[in-house]
Amino acid sequence: MIVALQKSGSTIDISSDSAKLVTNSWCRRTRFFRLSCRMESARPMENQLDALQSIFTEFYYWVTVVIMFLIHVGFCLYEVGVSREKNKLNTLMKNAMLIPVITFAFFFVGWWLYFAFQNGPGITGGLISASQAEPWDELMGTHLGGPGDVTGLDETGAKERTKANEGWARINGVFWAAFLLFSWTTGSILSGAVIERIRSGAFWLLAILVGSITWIIGAAWGWSEFGWMVKKLGYHDAYASCIVHGLAGFSALAILIHLGPRIGRFREDGTPRVIPPHNTWMVIVGLFIIYTGFWGFYAACNIPIWEITPREGASGVATWSATTIYFTQTTLSAITFNLLMALTAGMLTGYMISQGDPFWTFSGGLGGIITASAGNDLYHPYQAFFIAVIGVWCAYKLHYWVERKFKIDDAVGAVAVHGYCGSIGAVLAGFMLWGYPSSPHEGFARITPWGQLAGFLILSIGLGFVPCYILTGLLKKYGILRIPQEVELAGLDHDLVVEESAQKMELAAAEREALQHVSGA
């Protein structure tokens, strides 16, 4: 049997006679990388390809993490800009400190949940062993991959070893970080909605719940190679419309219901007052930076280079491709087309529907991307465009309806842009991609509208809304959710403002004194 490896138009033939299956502990540890059990050739060419694949993947995720960091920078700018002068530093610290808070929780438990919970557990199997993600495992530290198992002796009598933990040793940290940055994003989505009245401690606890527990369980179920929702429901959400955005947006909605609006947000007749941002430029620049970070977000949702091996019924040709998290093939070219067309449609729709309001124009761009994300690995750019139009239009209408009807004060429109757009996008993908296989593996359900609808209910409502509603209710019950009314009125940075004005007055007095000396001289 000849395995043909096609790359850049040239074909390299590798005889499978000289190949052997590597049964190393890296592969045994988890099924996620079981496809990476390479046909190991004695030829150095293949070893170099393996090395290139491994190091390229490592570097690729490392770069995506750097780009995704911009999402958090953008969220901080955006939120601080939206807040009033009297609350700006508190708003900044509340959001910035979710970085360390979510990071430790994600290191301790979140990463393990992703691998261990793919079967539910209890739906398609039990808890999966995922020792490489346990917070006390050697592979969660500086590790060079060895020593492998001894497989025999070579001609010179030296021990031959498998590659052991080489894969996880190279990929664990960067892959963990890519997921962690999604976690920060979920926390930031909550953060913007609740500004100027939530206690930071309560917010960080909620951020841990969403950023390190609920969203990552959702990802294990519906955004992994063997997740039970993929198997049973054919759930497809390639760039995390619902898994990140829908879930976090509905989590924010649950918190807002208990938290209540900012003082003065609604008139006595129930109509909303506008609370103007203290710095519109920061808001807009923040949104532009979030757009930039989304390139990293999209890239991080892919597996950058993967050997697509011959499958049953295929001609026996292997190739290399980028894949989605489900190991279905896609290209960076495809997602670039679709991301930009969805952004375009979102901005146009936001501009049109709001009569040129900057907030809705830029938020519309983001909402457009989020709506189309579920199927952007497969859509045509025109499809991504019109899906984005529908998502942003619906989100805009829903936002104002919910605001007026239920007196929900979402300071940055997070529920609309993330919650509604993400959820609508996941459901629309069910209609657009109806009948597509959800996975390269046999026996997995195909993509259907009801599978996607069930996915929305499980993710946005079951994992997003319900847990946050319960925890926020408890925090409210014990009086540790919202800041006292007097402090809210005076402003969270009141002490600082008073201190600053005293310093300015002292400085002005000193300058006047200096001026008298100068004039006297």
């Binding site: 060079l144 060895g146 020593p147 007097e486 005076a490």
Partner: protein
């Protein structure tokens, strides 16, 4: 004596004795291999302490500030700092000056 005892304990935990051996033999290379669980436990305790400290200190801070704002004219003074100046009043003042 203490120096030699401490030195031998630390040296015993060093996983890399020589870099000039086959690369495939290197696994974890950080010091104190085998103590990962205890390091995890210490880190967990620190992080839980941080969260508890935050809840308690925040509660105290807001209680004190609310009391302060409720005393005398605390709240009205505080609101006056942030209240935007009424443009119509400013204009009328300017007209009066003219």
């Amino acid at each position: 004596m203490w120096e030699s005892i401490l030195g031998s304990v630390i040296l015993a935990s060093v996983p890399v004795k020589d870099w000039r051996v086959d690369a495939e033999t290197f696994g974890p290379v950080y010091p104190w291999i085998g103590t990962e669980f205890w390091m995890f436990a210490a880190c967990l305790v620190f992080c839980i302490y941080f969260m508890i400290w935050k809840f308690i200190s925040e509660h105290k801070k807001y209680d004190a500030r609310a009391r302060e704002l409720n005393s005398d004219n605390g709240l009205s003074d505080a609101l006056a700092i942030h209240a935007p100046e009424d443009i119509t009043k400013r204009k009328s003042r300017e007209t009066d000056r003219e």
